[in-house]
């Protein structure tokens, strides 16, 4: 059995588990109805307005930095695999790249991009 087959099997199993569980829950569970049941829970007080509204995310700048670093990390992986075989040359090749990354982080830090706002 190849890995890809197993991958598909596991994926389907996840579906089966969730669907199966939900169906059992929906069919077997006792039910009751009242007006307030489907309302949002907010400590027992009716909610004010909708919750789907503009919401300030304080870590916005860091999230963008994350995108950058994550891509760099992905780029580094191929190098990591062959690093052992390449020896010192591999080190030269990528240390420049890594240093730029570290400097970039230091710059962002210095500029206060890593502070919570």
């Amino acid at each position: 059995m190849s890995s890809y087959e197993i991958f598909v099997i596991v994926f389907i199993m996840a579906l089966v588990m969730v669907l199966g569980g939900s169906v059992i829950g929906l069919l077997l569970s006792p039910k009751s109805k009242n007006n307030q049941k489907g309302e949002q829970y907010e400590s027992g007080i009716p909610t004010r307005g909708t919750s789907w509204m503009q919401f300030k995310v304080g870590y916005y700048l860091i999230a963008i930095l994350f995108l950058m670093f994550d891509v760099e990390a992905v780029l580094l992986f191929p190098w990591a695999v062959i690093m052992k075989g390449m020896g010192v040359e591999g080190l030269y090749a990528v240390s420049f790249f890594l240093v730029v990354l570290i400097l970039g982080l230091a710059y962002a830090w210095r500029k206060g991009a890593l502070e919570w706002k």
């Binding site: 829950g25 309302e39 919750s51 789907w52 994350f66 990390a73 890594l98 570290i102 919570w116």
Partner: protein
């Protein structure tokens, strides 16, 4: 046992092929058996971990923990399971139905797929890509999307804040987990888990270089954070957001988050074991004259090594969880971006130097 297991699988295969003519039926039956096997293991591990945590946490708190259902309370989780399975699933009025019901699926899918990529004993593994480490990193981060979806689709203010916090969680610890693994990839020279296992036959990675220790610590913190537990349970934050992202989930839909959380705990510990602590490899002393010792170690079955080490890491994680207070969101980001990221970047550089010069 693992070899016996493979024997058994082969026997089943022979039995099926000798009795059923159509090859696709055989394959189908095998698929179903494999799938069910995975699912059972997954569920059992989740149940075991639930009772394990409840007992351990009780002992940390000088309590006894569940002890009235079955001997030492071991059937407690089955009672929980029965109950939660037939608890009402509340039809909500104002939510985004599709995303709301998709969220538990995504969480379970993420953790099951990662689970499928683990190695449990010598030769017992499911998905084994040549980019195994990469695969694990990729699928394990799916779960958190489920968390975000759950929080968003509930149309509840607490859960929305929880979802936003889980976003912060993603951008925080994804990177460190990734970079700490990279250190190992540099050392092992491969991303395939089987290759990495083979490279640890004599000496585990943790003992191969001082920088793997740093990588392990960073990995443990990051992995712990990704499970949304312990000091990193911001998206749930019981005392702030009542139940966080899954505040509107009831019955088994909540149960899935619950199960997923515990399985992620196992999965992360297992990945840590595989990548850093030699997985199912026995502990060997790579010196002359230690053959006797090594033979004794080898006599212990590989799954005992695997699960023993995993449990150790889980225990560590529980210890942390039941000791520390929760981080605030800016502390969380600070921990990642000002402490762990510089350390892991430096660690990679040092590891590369180590590999280039020492090896």
């Amino acid at each position: 046992m693992s070899l016996e297991l493979i024997d058994g699988i082969n026997k089943i295969h022979e039995f099926l092929t000798s009795n059923i003519e159509a090859a696709w039926v055989v394959s189908l039956i095998e698929y179903v058996l494999v799938g069910l096997g995975f699912l059972t293991l997954y569920a059992l591990i989740a149940l075991f971990l639930i009772i394990f945590e409840r007992k351990i946490c009780a002992y940390f708190q000088c309590r006894l923990g569940p002890n009235r259902v079955g001997p030492w309370g071991i059937f407690q989780v089955f009672a929980d399971m029965v109950k939660i399975l037939i608890k009402e699933i509340i039809p909500l009025k104002h939510n985004d139905k599709l995303l709301f019901y998709a969220a538990p699926f995504i969480v379970i899918m993420g953790s099951l797929l990662t689970f499928g990529g683990l190695q449990f004993a010598e030769g017992v593994h499911g998905v084994d890509f040549n980019v195994g480490v990469f695969y694990l990193l990729a699928v394990s981060s799916i779960s958190i999307i489920g968390v975000m979806l759950a929080g968003w689709s509930s149309n509840n203010k607490y859960s929305l804040i929880g979802a936003m916090r889980s976003g912060a969680q993603v951008i925080s610890f994804e990177l460190s987990a990734c970079l700490s693994m990279m250190a190992i990839v540099i050392l092992g020279g491969s991303m395939n888990l089987s290759d990495l296992m083979a490279a640890q036959e004599d000496v585990w990675f943790i003992f191969q270089s001082p920088f793997t220790v740093v990588a392990l610590v960073i990995y443990l913190i990051a992995a712990h954070a990704e499970t949304n537990r312990g000091p990193f349970d911001l998206p749930e934050a019981e005392s702030e957001l009542t139940a966080g992202y899954h505040v509107e989930y009831s019955g088994i839909t909540f149960g899935f988050f619950y199960v997923g959380e515990y399985c992620n705990l196992f999965i992360n510990a297992a990945i840590g074991t595989l990548v850093f602590l030699g997985g199912w490899q026995a502990f060997h002393l790579p010196f002359a004259g230690c053959e006797g010792f090594n033979a004794v170690m080898d006599a212990i079955p590989s799954y005992v090594w695997m699960f023993g080490k995993t449990l150790l890491l889980i225990f560590l994680s529980l210890w942390v969880r039941w000791t520390f207070p929760r981080l605030r969101i800016d502390q969380l980001l600070r921990l990642e971006w000002k402490i762990m990221l510089p350390f892991s970047l430096a660690n990679i550089l040092l590891m590369a130097i180590w590999v280039a010069l020492v090896k």
